[in-house]
């Protein structure tokens, strides 16, 4: 290997690592707020990438149909819950927020000439379409079992991944897609070529992380989410509803992974079932962070991206074996670090 190849691999590794880091952060956020391991996170990534690709290919965008269906199911469930609790069905303006938003983005996705609206707008609309998937899925799938044990939550998360993947096949078809790069510019440093897409991904990842930091440090709602993660009972006692916190964390996760999907779409060919392995690598990052520490998880995810890039070069057919076997020493380290016996619950 020469320096040029190393730099190329390093670039690949950094891009993927940055994406895994973003996903690891979403996983940690959702897990600490709701105790759910959000396995279907990867589907948000692939849905976003494939939606963006459909727009550019001039194919109809079908994601809106799914949003409308989920939204209707959610409203029916709300009504059923209210009737069961013996409450009167009360009309509240806040209830209309989600249906109105879904109607608006779906309307845009159906009526606009998506092929010609420009890449920035395509990306924004794509993310806007993926975000409501988060809270809607939380409402329909997880809210009814919010107090169930961890295993049931995990199984439902996995079943959701199964259903979403095959729904992806129906919506997007079996072919893989890749979108146009944000710009074709390249930079040369010495004899190394740096792709502008690399810079895009890394810059946007940093901006996103900075925005998230500001949200959690300065904004009352961001603080409320943190509070829910720190002490669920305390959060309930100051009036932060766990359902609202759950929906918010899912929305944030969908936003981050939707954006990740838009970012990697020009770099990697994405298929309807690509999401799972991508999100698993986010999980590896999250595990390295001990399902608790954000900076360690991010660093672990970047390291993972680099290992993956270099193992592609040295032993490409064993790439996945190497990446996932790498988890064992991490787990071993955690296992040695954990002292004594604990009771689960």
């Amino acid at each position: 290997m020469n320096a040029q190849i190393a730099l190329l691999l390093g670039q690949d590794g950094f891009i993927n690592g940055a994406i895994y880091a973003l996903l690891a952060l979403s996983i940690l956020l959702v897990f600490s707020v709701t105790r759910i391991l959000l396995i279907p996170l990867g589907e948000f990534v692939s849905y976003a990438a494939l939606t963006m690709a459909s727009m550019q290919a001039g194919k109809p965008v079908m994601l809106g149909a799914m949003l409308v269906a989920l939204c209707l199911i959610g409203l029916l469930m709300d009504a059923r819950d209210a009737l069961r609790a013996g409450r009167r069905l009360r009309f509240r303006a806040s209830k209309l927020l989600m249906p109105a938003y879904v109607a608006a983005v779906t309307g845009l996705s159906v009526t606009l000439p998506l092929e010609h609206i420009g890449m920035a707008f395509q990306g924004a609309l794509t993310v806007a379409l993926v975000v409501p998937l988060g809270p809607l899925l939380y409402r329909v799938l997880f809210l009814p079992i919010a107090s169930a044990n961890g295993l049931v939550l995990l199984i439902v998360a996995i079943a959701a991944h199964v259903a979403l993947t095959s729904a992806g096949l129906l919506i997007f078809g079996p072919e893989g897609s890749r979108t146009e790069p944000f710009s074709d510019a390249t930079f040369t440093i010495g004899d190394a070529i740096i792709n502008s897409q690399t810079l895009w991904v890394i810059a946007l990842s940093f901006i996103l992380i900075a925005l998230l930091y500001a949200f959690f440090e300065k904004n009352l709602y961001g603080k409320a989410l943190r509070a829910t993660a720190v002490d669920r009972l305390g959060a309930q006692l100051v009036g932060i509803s766990p359902a609202l916190a759950g929906k918010a964390s899912f929305a944030l996760a969908a936003f981050i992974s939707g954006l990740s999907g838009v970012l990697i779409a020009p770099i990697t060919t994405i298929y309807f079932d690509s999401g799972f392995v991508i999100s698993l690598k986010g999980f590896v990052g999250a595990i390295i962070g001990g399902l608790a520490s954000y900076p360690v998880a991010a660093a672990g995810a970047v390291a993972l991206g680099l290992v993956e890039a270099f193992s592609t070069f040295y032993a490409s057919s064993y790439k996945e074996v190497i990446v996932f076997t790498l988890l064992l020493p991490v787990l071993l380290w955690r296992s040695v670090a954990q002292k004594g016996v604990k009771d689960e619950q």
């Binding site: 009352l220 409320a224 002490d231 009972l233």
Partner: protein, 258 residues
Amino acid sequence: MTARTPSASEVIALLQVSGLHVSYGKIEAVSGVDMTVGEGKIVTVIGPNGAGKTTLLSALMGLLPARGTVRFDGEDTAGTSIKSRIDRGLALVPETRALFSTMTVENNLELGAFRFRARPARERAAAMEEMFALFPRLKERRAQLAGTLSGGERQMLALARALMGRPRLLMLDEPSLGLAPLIVRDVFRIIADLRNRGVSILLVEQNARAALKVADYAYVLELGRVAAEGPAAELAHDPRVIAAYLGINSKHQERLAI
């Protein structure tokens, strides 16, 4: 402080509980409790460990499902969420305090006013200054993480956080737990002070003497049932209560409630 004897006609019932049952799986922890908390009163629930005191408060707050009627300010709370109870003016400071340990004192207080999130931020800031006037220690520690506070400061923060939500009925679960005697005395002084500001208080305490000293009315809970009730001053001298619950600690507790 002298405990007054409230007569039924004089008191407007803020909280009215009748026939409350709470179960964990197959075990009934609270069986058919009736109780009333009048507006502006301090009512205490005393009893041995495992009598169902914490369970009772959790059920009133909506944290546990329960059978029976709970009326708050005349309205039935059946089927309402914790959030809606908070919006109506109920607040609970649990035994564990449930602070946001990795967040600052200021953030904890700010989140205490989460139910006023739609109001301008300066109102929250003003409320926070009020709390700092009431608990000067917290002002000194405003930028410190809640997890690094001492036991007494934590209890102050838990109380202040609950007060940030401007509750009408404040439920306190073992506020003196694990606190040094001098600080316990502070806590009881604050409780008495809060009543003078118009906050009604439902107090669960193991320091039975101290609780009876500060309260207007008391219930003795035993094995999930009300074993005795009456004006606190009378109950404090009831020989059965003395024998069963006050025991060796009694003089000590009495001094703490000054």
